[in-house]
């Protein structure tokens, strides 16, 4: 990532606007990958960004907009490339999160499970949580805003240990 020399005064930023549907998410993630590579972001962080952004966008497509909508709503993705990592902001106009804390980072339990009885879902939020830090969700009016940091250097995390910073502003719609 560029140091204090060079002409860019502001850190590189990616801003994407796309439809909340699978195909558009896929195309946008490819754009993010290219954009981050061009900004000099390293392999490991770019790989983690693909995973975290895919899960966050899939959640919006599946849960915030969901199957009932006739047309997909919009997603806004903004990424700020900083020395410490990627600051991500994701906005949608879909349904509110269910009340209470955001889903945690617990993976579905696999050990001791018959292969025929393995879980096929429930990994999305846990993957996002294991990769992202400073995760915050906010409901304002008819919008969801999800913010998180994808750190340049991964911090070790004990299995089952929740990140420090997951105090979640409760999803109270403004009066």
């Amino acid at each position: 990532m560029s140091g204090p020399t060079g002409r860019q005064s502001a850190p590189p930023r990616l801003s994407l606007r796309f439809a909340g549907e699978d195909a558009a998410v896929r195309r946008s993630l490819a754009e993010v990958e290219a954009g981050l590579a061009a900004a000099g972001v390293g392999d490991g962080l770019r790989q983690r960004a693909q995973i975290a952004l895919a899960e966050a966008c899939n959640n919006i497509v599946e849960h915030a907009y969901g199957p009932a909508r006739p047309r997909p709503g919009p997603i806004a993705l903004d990424i700020l490339v900083e020395a410490g990592g990627l600051r991500v902001m994701l906005r949608d106009k879909g349904r509110a999160m269910p009340p209470g804390p955001l889903p945690g980072d617990a993976m579905p339990e696999l050990s001791g499970r018959d292969p025929m009885d393995l879980p096929e879902g429930g990994f999305g939020w846990a993957l996002l949580r294991r990769i992202a830090e400073d995760l915050h969700h906010e409901r304002t009016g008819d919008r969801n805003t999800l913010r998180f940091l994808l750190p340049a250097v991964e911090k070790p995390r004990k299995p089952g240990e929740l990140p420090r910073d997951c105090q979640i502003p409760s999803a109270i719609p403004p009066a």
């Binding site: 998410v25 392999d43 995973i51 899960e55 497509v61 696999l110 393995l118 846990a126």
Partner: protein, 114 residues
């Protein structure tokens, strides 16, 4: 979704010829898997060497594919690229599927191992 199947002795090799197994192709993946490997016999090696990305929907489809084989057959994975390996590690699915460095290693290890 491009996938090819080849019987190699007692083992079936299913190669995914696409760069991504994500939410937009997860259902197709499962259907293709059933068509190609469902009726065969023996263990299946799913070669992911060309797959650069797998999200949790794709992972769910791989789990569903494994179940299609039934409890008498195994699904092994080979050729995990870095992002796919990362997802397998974070979800611990790398302790559910036998994993081999590449297709040659998977074939050598699975021939005759039933």
């Amino acid at each position: 979704m491009k996938m090819t199947f080849e019987a190699r002795g007692a083992v079936g090799v299913l190669r995914v010829e696409e760069p991504r197994i994500d939410a937009s192709v997860a259902i197709q993946f499962k259907d293709r898997f059933r068509d190609l490997a469902g009726s065969a016999e023996g263990d299946v090696i799913l070669d992911l060497a060309r797959v650069e990305f797998l999200d949790s929907s794709g992972l769910g489809a791989v789990v569903a594919a494994r179940k299609l084989l039934g409890s008498g057959r195994q699904l092994a994975l080979s050729g995990l690229t870095p992002t796919v390996d990362k997802v397998m590690t974070l979800t611990r699915m790398n302790t559910v599927f036998p994993i081999h460095a590449d297709l040659a290693a998977a074939l050598a290890a699975h021939a005759g191992s039933g």
